[in-house]
Every structure is written in structure tokens, then in C-alpha cells.
């Protein structure tokens, strides 16, 4: 997992509510596609017109947002399907952090497994950041600093965000969860031993 410390760059404003993972990556792109190839298909239903050409109106087709590392989004970002391909597609398109008023629980969990940071800020703050970016797209840079747990807006405005301390440590170090949990193998085995006695019907074969 790529460690996440600080990311600075253009922040693409896409303030729609309920952006679902079907829109982030179409399901047929999950079939027979490697993770690395998914970035090219991020948001294709909005990014491309019916004839396959780019829609110049769509924010990620406009400079300086074409390779923006940060996305500003509306509430309930990543709702719908649990497909982790949505995170792989965003990461493949160069996005390292999404700033939104709220996230779907499954999307947020998937993002954290892949070093993509979901940052929760109040809706008014996300709007303020988006407005500042829209005023001066080419100069307006946003910083997401996980070490200090702050977002710094284009006007130097500083916004604190919350993140679980254990998750923060794992992201900063780029740690894999499986290795971490396997250190608890003894405790898991002991729990399972007790559970086999308490709920034997759970244990098939």
C-alpha cells in the first residue's frame, strides 16, 4: 500500500450528492480488467459522450483538473456497490484523497485499504473550497496533510479533520492489515476454541 503523508495539488470540484460506485467505474470494466487498467475508465459515463469522445464540460477533462490528486464531492460519496474497483479506478486516475461531507461506509473502508484518503469536512467547508478553486482554477491548490490532520485551502484557510488514530498510523506507514491481524493469531485461535464449545452449529466440518 502506498503510504499517505501529504498531498498538494488541484482539487477537482464534483459536488453532486450520492455519487455511486457504478458511476465511478462501470461494472463491465471489472470483468477481465487488471487494477492498473481501471484508472482509464474512472467516471467514464460522465467523462465520455455516447460516441466515445471526451465531454469537455466534465471537470476531470478540464485543465488543471485532468490529473488532480484531490476530489471535492457531495454527501454520501461512493454509495451503492461494494466494488473495490471504484477505489482502484480513482487511484489509477491519480486521485489520492476525496474530500466530502460524508462517505458510504463500504467505500471508505475500501479506500483505506488502498491508501486513498476519505476526508470528511462539513458541507459548507467543501463548498467554500470548491468556490475558491473555481475562482482561480490554475493557481488554487489544496493540501491534504495527514500528519497534521488538516486540509489547507487555496486562501490559506486551515480545516481540521478527524480520522481514527490506528487508521492514520497504518496510512502514514503504508501498512497491510492482514499482517497486522495475523499477529493476533493466538487470540483468534483461543476465541475460536471457546466458540466451538458455545456455538458448535456454526462450525461445519
Amino acid at each position: 500500500m502506498t503510504p499517505f503523508t501529504t498531498v498538494t495539488g488541484p482539487a477537482a470540484p464534483l459536488l453532486r450528492p450520492n455519487i455511486d460506485t457504478d458511476v465511478i467505474i462501470r461494472v463491465e470494466r471489472l470483468v477481465g480488467t487488471t487494477r492498473a487498467e481501471m484508472g482509464a475508465h474512472a467516471f467514464e459515463v460522465w467523462r465520455r459522450r455516447a460516441d466515445g469522445s471526451e465531454d469537455p464540460e466534465f471537470v476531470l477533462n478540464r485543465e488543471p483538473f485532468r490529473r488532480a490528486p484531490i476530489l471535492l464531492a457531495g454527501p454520501n460519496f461512493g454509495c451503492g456497490s461494494s466494488r473495490e474497483g471504484a477505489v482502484w479506478a480513482l487511484a489509477g486516475a491519480g486521485i489520492r484523497a476525496v474530500i466530502a461531507p460524508s462517505f458510504s461506509d463500504i467505500f471508505a473502508a475500501n479506500a483505506l485499504q488502498n491508501g486513498l484518503l476519505p476526508v470528511v469536512l462539513p458541507e459548507a467547508t467543501v463548498r467554500r473550497l470548491a468556490a475558491a478553486v473555481e475562482r482561480a482554477p490554475s493557481e488554487a491548490l489544496v493540501t491534504v496533510d495527514l500528519e497534521r490532520c488538516v486540509v489547507v485551502g487555496p486562501e490559506g484557510d486551515v480545516h481540521r479533520f478527524e480520522i481514527d488514530p490506528a487508521r492514520r498510523e497504518a496510512l502514514l506507514a503504508g501498512l497491510d492489515d492482514i499482517g497486522l491481524t495475523l499477529r493476533e493469531a493466538g487470540a483468534i485461535a483461543a476465541w475460536q476454541e471457546r466458540d466451538r464449545a458455545a456455538r458448535p452449529w456454526v462450525w461445519l466440518a
Binding site: D22, V23, A50, S81, P165, A166, E184, I188, L204
Partner: protein
């Protein structure tokens, strides 16, 4: 200290703290399908991890497989790789696979309860957001991504924060014509598609207790469309009766022990929830979605909403875009809207009771000219039982296609799709942009509403449509 059902289910599976706000919880069942399941098995193999409890994992292909009669894994060639990876991964680790053409195969959330793989009180995960369906039996069930699936395969646990508790009670009785699908769509419409984020939802109240088990599976299925990863109904005698005798359900003395334990799985009368909603069941009419989020839903006798009435500017824009995509005009009645397709299927509404409900409306009737209508049964067993009752004949004589079990047009991952611009009344769970195919327009509704629409050739109020 009074406890909620969530408290009890959580305590039952908690191994210990996992740092920060998270717990390490035991996962009793892992379900694998041909997209996320195959990927997770591949990831486990690549990283060199063992799978210590293969007997607690089960696999079946459902997503990227054709539903055409006589299909094999190769019928949809692009999906064949996922099926192959699922077969190989399952064989390598000794995981039981219910393969295409075999008894037991089906949509993972249909076959799991049906075979007794899922039981009340179990913690269940699958790489699929509609895993919450299994909460209809009183299981703690939720969807995860491929990485968490791999984590559970390698450790039989997950690191996860305990959600907050929300109880949604439907009190009273649902009117005639109103199904569990309508009830949950109405709740999503009233509360919003993000209202449940961070919560586990306990569906309760007298109207829910009166629901048959398969209807509870439908109710819990759409909990994710409310934003909650977990939804459940406290298990009761109806559930125990439904589970009894299923292939992998406990038998004999073990059954008695299990039922005694399951009877303790309920919220205390004085339990306090972090959020609570009460809906008068008597006010819930048959529902149909008009837009591109499940929260874009109205009673079938209502008019299409006007964006100028949206609660804020963000939603106004979202409504405008949804109406443009759907090709609808605000202020007009939704009933009467001409349709091109009808899909009866999916983990929401493809069980035997759903097919019976639709067939009851179709006996002696014909699908309207110009409408393509499909039934995709939820599993091999549902299909077989429906055929034994002659339901397949009812559907085919009415002009429906009778197909092989899988996700099919709910998610359009298998080469089957509603054509661009075509309007489909669907018993599935998502009306997202492009969900049923690029440019396809989806209206979510109950099986009876879908069957009525097929006959009328337009969206129609099932209550005005005497069986």
C-alpha cells in the same frame, strides 16, 4: 443495562479491540462470487496466505455469467476468467463451490439462506453490498471490498468499527398491494439514500413482524440503499420454521441448542437506539422510482417531482440531471409512462414468493406489444420449484422469457443489458445511471408492479389492476 440486537450480535463476535475505534470481530461465513470472490482468492494466493477455515467459506458464480437457457461459463466469454479463477481458488483451498448447472447455484444472497449456509446470529460477509439481505434471518451480514474479503479469508476476522444503532419501525399493517419492497423504498424516499451511513438498521414494528421470511430478505436487501451496510430483523419462530431442515442447518439435538440461542437474539424492550424512526405502515402505497437514486421514489399514484421543489441547490441540480437522463417531465403522473422492458429478478426479488406474486397477475394475460420481459429466477432451486408449480408456463405463456439463475439485468455485468434509452420496470435494487446498461432508464418496483407494467405496457398502479 438494556441491550439492542446489534449489541448482542456484536458481543457474540467480538474477539477484542483492534486499535483506534475498531474491534476485531470473528466472521462465521464468507461468501464468494465470480467478481470480488475470484479477485480475493487470487489476492490471497499472490500474497502467499493460507485459508485456515475453508469449511466456513462458500462460492457460487452469479455476476458475470449469462442467463441464457443452456448457458455455460463460456457463453459470456469475458466473464469466463472470473468463473475459472473462482473454480480454481475454491478447489485449491477446499472451499465448497456451487457451480453453474449444479443444484445450489444461484445469486449468492438467494442461495446462502436457501441452503442453510446463512443462519440466524451468524456474522456473514461477501464482496457484495447486498450481503445485508441475509439480515432477514437475523444474521449480522454486510458487504465488503476485495481487500477485506482477502483479510477475512486469511484470518477469519475483520477489523471494523461497531456501527451506531438505528431502529426503523413500521407500525400497523401494510395496505393491500403494498409489499416489503414498497416499504423499504418508501423508507429510503422519506429518510434519504445516505441516512443510514454509519448505522446498522434493525427493521421492527408490528408490520415487519407480520412479514414472511422471504419478504424480510427483500426488506433487508435494500438497507444498503438507505446507506446502512447492515440491516436485520430479530429472528423469530417464523424464521426458525423457515430454516429448519435446510441442507446445512443444524439437525437433531444441535438444532434445539441453536434455536434456544437464537431466541435470545432480540433487542430488550427498554433498549435505547442512537436513532429511531417510526413509519405508519398504513400510509405506505406501492412505490416506483422516477430518477437515478433509490431516494428518487414516489407512490405510483403521485406526480413526478419538480426540481424547483428540491430541498437545496445541490439536490435541485441532481433532480434536473436525473429527469433529463430518465427522459421525464416534472408535474406529470408517473403512472401511464410507456415502458420498453420488464425485468423480474435479482437478490431483491427473485425468490419463489416473488415469482408467485408476479405470476398471479399474469395468468391469462399477455405482455403488451413492444415490451421485452424477462424472468431470471434467483437460484437453481427457485427455478426448479417454480417449474414444479407451473409458474414457468404462466410466464412463458404471457410472453416472458424464462432464464437461468444469476444477477443478469440487475447489474448488467454479463453482457446482458437494457438498450440505451429504453425504459425498464425492474424488481432489482438500483436505478443508477447506466446500471442496467449504458443509457438504460430504470424504474424500481415490486414484482406485482413489474408484472402489471409488462401487461399494460406502461407504469400502472397495481391496485387498479385486478388479478
Amino acid at each position: 443495562m438494556p441491550a439492542t440486537l446489534l449489541d448482542r450480535l456484536w458481543a457474540l463476535h467480538r474477539i477484542g479491540p483492534a486499535g483506534g475505534g475498531q474491534d476485531l470481530i470473528h466472521i462465521d461465513r464468507i461468501l464468494l462470487h465470480d467478481l470480488s470472490g475470484a479477485r480475493a482468492l487470487t489476492e490471497v494466493a499472490e500474497k502467499g496466505y493460507a485459508i485456515p477455515n475453508p469449511g466456513l467459506a462458500f462460492a457460487t458464480p452469479d455476476h458475470a455469467v449469462s442467463s441464457a437457457p443452456g448457458r455455460t461459463a463460456e457463453t459470456f466469454a469475458k466473464g469466463a476468467g472470473g468463473v475459472k479463477a473462482l473454480r480454481e481458488g475454491a478447489a485449491r483451498h477446499g472451499i465448497r463451490l456451487f457451480d453453474l448447472g449444479e443444484d445450489g447455484q444461484g445469486i449468492v444472497h438467494v442461495m446462502g439462506p436457501e441452503l442453510g449456509i446463512v443462519l440466524p446470529g451468524l456474522s456473514v460477509i461477501c464482496g457484495d453490498s447486498h450481503t445485508c439481505t441475509n439480515g432477514g434471518l437475523g444474521a449480522l451480514a454486510f458487504g465488503v471490498g476485495s481487500s477485506e474479503l482477502a483479510h477475512a479469508l486469511a484470518t477469519q476476522t475483520l477489523r471494523v468499527a461497531k456501527p451506531r444503532s438505528m431502529r426503523i419501525r413500521f407500525e400497523g399493517a401494510f395496505p393491500a398491494g403494498t409489499t416489503a419492497k414498497d416499504a423499504v423504498l418508501a423508507a429510503i424516499g422519506r429518510l434519504g439514500a445516505g441516512a443510514g451511513a454509519g448505522y446498522a438498521v434493525e427493521w421492527a414494528g408490528s408490520a415487519v413482524r407480520a412479514l414472511p421470511v422471504e419478504a424480510r430478505l427483500t426488506l433487508c436487501n435494500l438497507t444498503i440503499e438507505l446507506g446502512a451496510r447492515i440491516g436485520f430483523v430479530a429472528p423469530d419462530e417464523r424464521v426458525f420454521e423457515w430454516v429448519a431442515g435446510r441442507d446445512l442447518a443444524p439437525k437433531g439435538e444441535m438444532w434445539e441448542r441453536a434455536v434456544a440461542h437464537w431466541r435470545t437474539l432480540r433487542s430488550d424492550d427498554d433498549a435505547v437506539f442512537d436513532a429511531e424512526q417510526v413509519i405508519d405502515a398504513g400510509t405506505v402505497a406501492p412505490q416506483v422510482t422516477w430518477g437515478t437514486s433509490p431516494e428518487h421514489v414516489i407512490p405510483v399514484d403521485a406526480t413526478i417531482p419538480d426540481p424547483k421543489d428540491a430541498p437545496d441547490a445541490t439536490r435541485r441540480r441532481a433532480w434536473e440531471e436525473a429527469l433529463a437522463y430518465q427522459g421525464l417531465e416534472p408535474g406529470r403522473p408517473i403512472a401511464g409512462t410507456p415502458i420498453d422492458w420488464v425485468f423480474i429478478g435479482s437478490c431483491t426479488n427473485a425468490r419463489l414468493s416473488d415469482l408467485r406474486e408476479a405470476a398471479a397477475l399474469l395468468r391469462g394475460r399477455r405482455v403488451a406489444a413492444g415490451v421485452t420481459a424477462w424472468v431470471v429466477p434467483g437460484s437453481v432451486r427457485v427455478k426448479r420449484e417454480a417449474e414444479a408449480e407451473g409458474l414457468d408456463r404462466v410466464f412463458t405463456e404471457a410472453g416472458f422469457a424464462w432464464r437461468e439463475p444469476g444477477c443478469s439485468l440487475c447489474v448488467a455485468a454479463n453482457g446482458e443489458a437494457v438498450p440505451p434509452g429504453a425504459r425498464c420496470v425492474s424488481t432489482s435494487n438500483r436505478n443508477f445511471v447506466g446500471r442496467q446498461g449504458r443509457g438504460a432508464r430504470t424504474h424500481l418496483a415490486s414484482p406485482a408492479m413489474a408484472a402489471a407494467a409488462a401487461v399494460a405496457g406502461r407504469i400502472v398502479d397495481v391496485r387498479s389492476f385486478a388479478p
